[in-house]
């Protein structure tokens, strides 16, 4: 299962889009490898999850890992465009309180 991360907008914050229909045990290593170098390119990030229809606890762990890296450098990381399935997972484990979640990238940029 191929996974990649694309830069869709770069300004004050870098907007990254996860290009894969799932973020899970089977492709999490690929996700980490793709996103880690990008976390050096800016301090502020918005991750667009509109393509991700399924995420498991390992995928969630990788998002938390990104959040920790960005915060340790004094930056911010916001999520947007969560599919209902992924939103459901975030709410289930109360990660909606840990992450700043927005409906669209524009809304996240404006906040």
């Amino acid at each position: 299962m191929a996974i990649s991360v694309e830069i869709v907008h770069s300004g004050r914050a870098l907007v990254l889009k996860v290009v894969a229909d799932s973020l899970e045990t089977d492709n999490v290593a690929g996700f980490r490898a793709a996103i880690t170098p990008m976390l050096d390119k800016s301090a502020h990030f918005i991750i667009d999850l509109s393509a991700v229809e399924f995420m498991d606890s390992t995928g969630l762990g990788s998002m938390l890992s990104c959040l920790r890296i960005v915060k340790s450098k004094g930056g911010t990381l916001k999520l947007c465009n969560l599919t209902p399935e992924v939103k459901q997972l975030f709410e289930m484990v109360m990660m909606d309180r840990v992450f700043d979640i927005y409906t669209t990238p524009e809304e996240a940029l404006a906040s």
Binding site: T25, D26, F54, D56, T58, L89, M92, V93
Partner: protein
């Protein structure tokens, strides 16, 4: 001709040099043996004329040195001497001299002897040219043979064919050998793999291999078309038919070959094989993690025209590894100096059989590099690895698969379809909860079933009991105790540890049990929403 003359008697040398130059030879002159030997090592002379008696290093010593030297072309040596004694001359001939020039020098004799030298050197040159051409022709033949082998003999199954995945490694000993392999894919459920090894090496072995392979294909076609309603011939029928076609010829040619023919059938999860003297098939059972050597069934082809072929059949599970290999593998020497052998190789395979096939073969290649000592390097080395995946479709209400990279999606698809078909009114979020619970349980199984293993066989089943969706997951490995898993930290400071808690939140009941030799995880979920 380029000639070196070494003589400490400059007066007699002058006469010789003048004669040689008048015959248009290129002449280099030195007045002692040591200098002559130095020059001979630096430059190439076709003819060397040495005075026998010289101070420091005499002509005989230079002569012996030249003969001891491994030059690329022949150096013709004449000794210049006043000695006519038979014993002396015999000694000089023994020491490597080709001819003599007697002092005082006679011009007529010199011309005659130079003509002899020239004739011999020309013959030597012609012989060398012929030998070089022969060598080139042989090299060309070897390269052609290697290309025949690559194109005609070695056709391993594609990486993925029907219910199997394969990878193979073939390292011929002298560019070309008689190892061959091929496959037949029948429909979507059956694939046959066969490997063979012809006695001997080189182009003749490769040609016999190609001939037998073609004959086997002919047998398959003729058996398939023998009746109006084609039925797939059994491996034993096929071998019997091949034997009838080639055995007498092999006996006449004075050769034989070992052959192993195996059929993977995902319709009934079986392996049926005939093994004619080939190294025993290694079967690694993915459930138990244990390797077994499968019995040989027959003698090699070309041994006996009265052989009656019999096949054996055994069960396969998704994830099982089946290995075919040549004796080049089992002949490898262990660091202790002991031969690896089939039992040794089987033991070696057991701890690596779970690896993805390309990684497994990488390890095999390393085994070869480490195991090569002296002459063992000359053996053909072939290994064809087949991972049985099975049909991976639902059968008798359950789905069996080899859970490695990428297979969790198959489990989710199975559950998604089953939940929709269950007809008990799950809403979309409820189906998503089911998928999350199943994903966490299955990925937990893959992670913890066998430490360090990248794949395990799992069996999942889904059914509806009294309006409750029941999902069962079975997998091998040590018993799993969820009580030992700490409660998750939900403030974002910990990246893992959510799995068990997600399962609990997503389904109504979860039970972990250990039955016989495998774990059983049961998840139950009722529909509460307003789904259809």
């Amino acid at each position: 001709m380029k000639i070196l003359v070494a003589d400490d008697d400059e007066l007699s040398a002058e006469l010789l040099l003048a004669s040689l130059r008048s015959m248009s030879h290129e002449v280099v002159f030195v007045n002692n043996g040591e200098e002559a030997w130095k020059l001979i090592q630096e430059e190439s002379f076709r003819l060397v004329i040495l005075d026998w008696v010289m101070p420091e290093m005499d002509g005989m010593e230079v002569c012996r040195n030249i003969r001891a030297m491994q030059g690329s072309s022949y150096t013709y040596i004449m000794l210049l001497t006043g000695r006519t004694d038979r014993k002396d001359r015999l000694e000089a001939l023994e020491g490597g001299a080709d001819d003599f020039l007697t002092k005082p020098l006679d011009n007529g004799e010199l011309i005659a002897r130079l003509n002899v030298a020239n004739r011999i050197l020309e013959m030597e040159e012609a012989e060398r040219r012929t030998s070089r051409e022969l060598q080139q022709a042989r090299q060309k033949e070897i390269e052609l043979g290697a290309s025949i082998q690559k194109r005609l003999l070695y056709t391993p199954p594609p990486a993925s064919a029907n219910a199997i995945e394969t990878a193979s490694l073939s390292i011929p000993s002298q560019y070309v050998d008689g190892d061959f392999c091929d496959f037949f894919a029948h429909g979507t459920q059956i694939v046959d793999v066969f490997v063979g090894d012809v006695m001997g090496k080189g182009v003749p072995a490769a040609m016999v291999g190609a001939g037998v392979k073609t004959s086997l294909q002919r047998c398959m076609i003729s058996l398939l078309t023998a009746t109006l309603k084609p039925t797939l011939p059994k491996p034993e029928q096929l071998l019997q038919s091949l034997d009838a076609l080639v055995c007498a010829e092999l006996i006449e040619l004075g050769t034989f070959l070992t052959l192993c023919y195996a059929r993977f059938n995902s319709a009934d999860d079986t392996l049926t094989y005939v093994n004619c003297g080939h190294p025993q098939i290694i079967l690694w059972d993915s459930l138990s993690g244990v390797c077994r050597l499968l019995d040989t069934t027959n003698v090699p082809l070309g041994f006996s025209e009265e052989e009656s072929y019999e096949q054996r059949t055994g069960n396969l599970h998704p994830g099982d590894l089946v290995l075919f290999y040549s004796d080049g593998v089992t002949d490898l020497k262990l660091p202790s100096g002991k031969r690896l052998g089939m039992a040794g190789f089987s033991e070696w395979v057991e701890s690596r059989a779970h690896l993805p096939l390309d990684e497994f073969l990488y390890e095999v290649e390393h085994l070869r590099i480490n195991g090569l000592t002296g002459l063992a390097a000359g053996d053909d080395f072939t290994c064809v690895a087949v991972r049985y995946r099975g049909a991976e479709t639902e059968r008798n209400g359950s789905l069996q698969l080899w859970a490695d990279h990428g297979s969790l999606r198959k489990v989710r698809n199975y559950v998604k379809t089953s939940a929709r078909k269950a007809g008990i009114g799950f809403t979309d979020p409820e189906v998503n909860e089911l998928l999350l619970a199943v994903q966490e349980a299955a990925s937990n199984a893959v992670r913890h079933a066998r430490v360090g293993h990248k794949g395990i066989p799992i069996r999942v089943s889904a059914k509806v009991e009294k309006n409750v969706f029941v999902f069962e997951l079975r997998y091998p490995g040590p018993p799993f105790d969820p009580g030992l898993v700490p409660e998750p930290v939900l403030d974002g400071t910990k990246e893992g540890g959510f799995g068990i808690s997600i399962i609990k939140k997503c389904v109504d009941e979860v039970a972990y049990a250990f039955q016989g030799d495998h774990n059983l995880v049961t998840l139950k979920k009722r529909a509460k929403g307003n789904g259809k």
